[in-house]
Amino acid sequence: MSFSLATPATPDEAFEFLAQDPEATAILAGGTDLLLDLEEGLVRPRTVVSLRRLPWREIRWNGPRLTIGSLAPLADLEADAGLRRRLPSLAKAIHAVGSLALRHRATLGGNLGRASPASDLIPLLLVLDARLSLVRRGDRRELRLDEFIVGSRRTALAAGELIESVTIPAPLPSEYLWQRVRLANDISQVGVAVARGTTTSAWRIALGGVTPRSVRLPSAEKLLGPGLPAPLAMELAAQEAAQRAPFTTDKRATEAYRRRLVYVLVKRAVAAVAASADALPETPSPSRTAKKSVPAKARSTSAR
């Protein structure tokens, strides 16, 4: 394994490096996944462009709209009091990734750009309707996350393009549940994200770890109807979710067990979101640190 490492200081410098040898360039945005592939020889780039000196790590609220710089380390995000208070499901999903040591390195953009089928963040960001701001020299475009992830470890990122930020239009009552063989530092066998839209009241369900590409499950979502679902509707939606997606068997779980987990976790996640339906997202988090460190201005901002 040998490659040259470029550490551009500005986006423009980065675009220059990316343009030189686009076919044989790997982007390093934390490296917790890429380095494994390099070590295993699964990728053999001539150039690795490290983004660690680029600025994109801000967490910015604009009314209900949340924009997170793609290079924000996951540990910074899970520690962010505003995020924990206003969008606790995302803080929880981030906390579920790897170990704390890993989360100091790993970035949000890196997680999305690597497009792992077992990502703990993609399912939740799908139900939160996240959008990605993609930049390349003199050019910028916005893509919905479901347009961006096109397959297992495949994205719509064009050659020479970088993820600048991720935007969530508004916090929603939402939940992320997962199962693994062990508590920490493990890959989820199944991840289930559920959110309830506040304007349309429509339910959204997405799965991770079961299909090559994380997907929403419209047929199961529909069964939950517009309002608070009855227990029977939850049961039917969970069954539908467990039957619908094209599940895989691998060394982490069999297809049958994944279906079982999806059934159980969808039921639990929907119930949790339904139970919190009146508790709107701006409800203060029980975390004391969150209360202390959030300025009054941020606290008064409406989440809707």
């Binding site: 394994m1 494994l36 170990s99 199962q179 063989v181 920490a184 530092n185 067990y257 079982r260 987990l261």
Partner: protein, 751 residues
């Protein structure tokens, strides 16, 4: 010394030895302790191994030329090169350095290279062309025997060991049974996962072959390597480095022969270390087993038992029928039974060779035996602990193979576990359960060892060959034995470590034997010092030592003499008072009339290990969370309470991995599917519950002061206790290790 037998109430030993500071702590915290992966020498080059590309095949052609042409390469060695490098002595045909024809497992080393940098060495290893005609792969036990074999079993070419034993009227026992409880259990492979991979540094000159290596057994490496390379043992010097965890994985030669051959070929020091991926792919691990258990029950007692074992031995099994007999005897547990029949096969498959893992196969066999006895108790409606107490050995019991049981603390430990279980049950919520596991162990006090103690005016040291493997048995345990014999405060006796050319022989830091067996040699040598000094002082009383301002004094009654005055002029001038002693244990005897075929093991002493675990089971997903665990180790005597605690805690953590998450996975082509720590899951801190230790003292073992070895026993009952707690919580019996959530879900009929 061993007058502590029997009575747990009367035989308690006061905890008069306070915890000591780990003598290796400073070097390890400062990073100055040299582990195998730190070894360096001037002019050193790097080695790498070339592995088989198939799990089974015939080597058609090995083309080393492409590697030789690469930059930085200084040695490329395959089977054809060996004759020119090694003396003409007879090499062990069973263990060729490199196979000449048949390749038996994937990544089996077929050649080795050395180069100036690690990257160049790896590139050269990749450049070697290995051409193989593939042969059919036997990757699982079922590939050999899809079910328990009949008469034809022993004739299978895959059988490398076949053991049988029986006693009593088995057929009659089953015929008269009120019911027969039949179960089939499976276990999967577990890896030692020492933090430090195997690593060594070889240096060869005209007279000496020397290898410095991270090993639990320098003398064992010398013996193995000499046999493999056809060297005389005294041509070979083995020096140990600090060991970053062994757990049985470093208890035999492994990389040393390859490194030595490379060093001989290039006449430079060669460092050879495995990557962590190679640790898994080449690992000498515990491998899968399938066990059939039938037990006849009458009048609330087990009256006859039939046990059949198929053991996946991989490409080879050290000790073969010894190992198989050793494992199968554990399946009956520490319980009396009037009639039994055991039969077991070890099967050669195309996996890497089988290797020991902390209490080899005992956690697996205890899981099986203890799950079985638990489910019989439940079927009878009996309390599982009471049912065990009705059968469990105590001193004077007879083992199934006819050995008399020595002092054994199982019943006392079970009674304590029963009292604690009753307390735990009071607070139990739905889906929570409490389980007990019982194991036993014969501490490896049989393997021999010698100790050399040296007393000068201002120093007392123990010289021996092994570095500590991390558990403190060498750096804390051995000096503590000498200190206790001579009445010295802890921290006053030093441990010196030397290579096999200088240190006295010892068989190794394994088998829970360091303090228990080598400690006996230290104990006797320290007693010799005491008697020698007494003679020189002209006293009959026992002599103890004191240290004052760095000087040693001998004290007997009111008499106190500086050691300087008691040394002879030669001793004062030279090396001090040097004493050596040895311990070569003699095991008890089994009843040979009960052995039909193979080898069965006679124990030196009997250590019980009883654990209690409380779990919570997610009834919808099968996920198991261990909430707490308490161990009741049968320790004989406590030499150092902190060592007891740390050994037990470490063993519980390791055992939880075997219980819940660790398993080596293999494809039908013999490829390991999870060769890394991502998908071979050892517990993380978050998976570990609070662990309590309640040692059972007073049942003397064979070790110094009546202590019993403690490295292995506390891991043995962990999977059993967890599995029984899961059964208690759910009513469902999981019959395969590890108890992953998916297996529990299947047992709960959720899928």
């Amino acid at each position: 010394m061993h007058g502590l037998r029997g009575d747990p109430a009367g035989g308690r030993i006061a905890r008069d030895v306070e915890a000591v500071t780990r003598r290796d702590a400073a070097a390890k915290l400062r990073g100055t302790a040299e582990f195998g992966t730190d070894l360096e020498a001037p002019g050193m080059v790097w080695g790498a191994l070339v592995g088989s590309t198939v799990a089974h095949g015939r080597l058609r052609r090995l083309d080393l030329e492409p590697a030789r042409r690469l930059p930085g390469v200084v040695a490329v060695v395959g089977p054809s090169e060996l004759a020119g490098l090694l003396p003409s002595g007879k090499r062990d045909a069973e263990r060729p350095v490199f196979p000449e024809s048949i390749l038996r497992y994937r990544h089996e080393p077929v050649a080795a290279v050395a180069a100036r940098t690690l990257a160049e060495a790896r590139a050269a290893a990749r450049a070697v062309r290995v051409e193989v005609d593939p042969l059919p792969v036997v990757s699982e036990i079922e590939d050999v025997f899809p079910e328990w074999p009949g008469e034809e079993g022993p004739r299978s070419p895959h059988v490398i060991a076949h053991v049988r034993a029986n006693h009593g009227d088995v057929d009659g026992g089953f015929a008269r049974a009120e019911f027969v409880h039949r179960e089939v259990y499976r276990t999967n492979g577990v890896h030692q996962v020492a933090l430090e991979p195997h690593a060594c540094l070889a240096e060869v000159n005209d007279t000496t072959w020397k290898v410095t290596t991270s090993t639990q057994t320098p003398f064992g490496v010398r013996e193995d390597t000499a046999e493999i390379l056809g060297l005389k043992e005294d041509q070979l010097v083995v020096d140990g480095s600090w060991v970053g965890g062994g757990f049985g994985g470093k208890a035999a030669a492994f990389l040393e022969p390859y490194a030595l051959v490379l060093a001989r070929a290039c006449r430079k020091p060669v460092r050879l270390a495995l990557t962590y991926r190679e640790e898994f792919e080449l690992g000498r691990t515990t491998l899968p087993s399938i066990v059939w258990l039938d037990t006849a029950v009458r009048g609330g007692k087990m009256t006859a038992r039939r046990v059949r074992l198929l053991l996946d031995a991989g490409a080879s099994l050290p000790g073969r029928d010894f190992a198989t007999g050793y494992a199968i005897a554990f399946l009956l547990g520490p319980y009396e039974v009037p009639a039994f029949e055991l039969e077991g096969y070890a099967l050669r498959t195309n996996k890497p060779p089988f290797g020991p893992h902390r209490a080899p196969l005992a956690p697996q066999t205890a899981f099986i035996g203890e799950s079985h006895i638990d489910s019989i108790a439940r079927r009878l409606g009996r309390d599982p602990i009471d049912f065990r107490l009705a059968h469990v050995w105590s001193e004077g019991s007879t083992t199934p193979l006819g050995q008399k049981v020595g002092p054994f603390g199982a019943a006392e430990a079970l009674r304590r576990a029963g009292r604690l279980a009753a307390l735990w049950r009071k607070g139990l919520k739905p889906h929570q359960g409490v389980g007990v596991g019982v194991g036993f162990w014969g501490t490896g006090v049989g393997a021999g060892g010698e100790a050399l103690l040296r007393l000068t005016a201002d120093d007392l040291s123990v010289l021996q060959v092994e570095h500590d493997i991390g558990n403190g048995s060498v750096v804390v345990g051995l000096p503590a034995v000498a200190e206790r014999v001579l009445g010295l405060p802890s921290g006053t006796v030093r441990v010196l470590t030397a290579d096999t050319a200088s240190a006295p022989y010892d068989s190794g830091v394994f088998g829970s034997r360091t303090v228990a067996a080598l400690g006996q040699a230290v104990e006797k040598a320290a007693q010799q010092i005491g008697t020698t000094l007494a003679k020189r002082m002209g006293v009959r009383a026992k002599v103890r030592l004191e240290v004052e301002r760095g000087q040693f004094f001998a004290v007997a009654g009111a008499k106190r003499v500086a050691v300087r005055e008691l040394l002879t002029p030669d001793e004062r001038r030279g090396g001090g008072l040097v004493v050596r002693d040895r311990h070569y244990g003699k095991p008890g005897t089994i009843d040979d009339a009960r052995v039909r075929e193979g080898t069965f093991y006679a124990y030196h002493d009997f250590a019980a290990s009883v654990h209690l675990a409380q779990v919570e089971v997610d009834r919808e997903t099968g996920a198991v969370r261990v909430m707490r665990a308490t161990a009741f180790p049968d320790v004989g005597t406590i030499l150092d309470p902190e060592m007891v605690r740390s050994q037990v805690e470490g063993a519980v953590v390791m055992g939880l991995g075997t219980a819940l998450s660790e398993e080596t996975l293999w494809g039908p082509d013999g490829r390991m599917l999870n060769p890394g720590l991502l998908d071979y899951r050892i517990p993380t801190l978050g998976d570990v519950p609070p662990i309590e230790v309640d040692p059972v003292e007073g049942f003397a073992g064979a070790g110094p002061f009546g202590l019993k070895g403690l490295g292995e026993p506390p891991i043995i009952p962990v999977p059993a206790a967890v599995a029984n707690a899961v059964a208690d919580a759910t009513g469902a019996r999981v019959t395969e290790l590890p108890l992953t959530a998916e297996r529990v879900a299947r047992a709960l009929k959720l899928l």
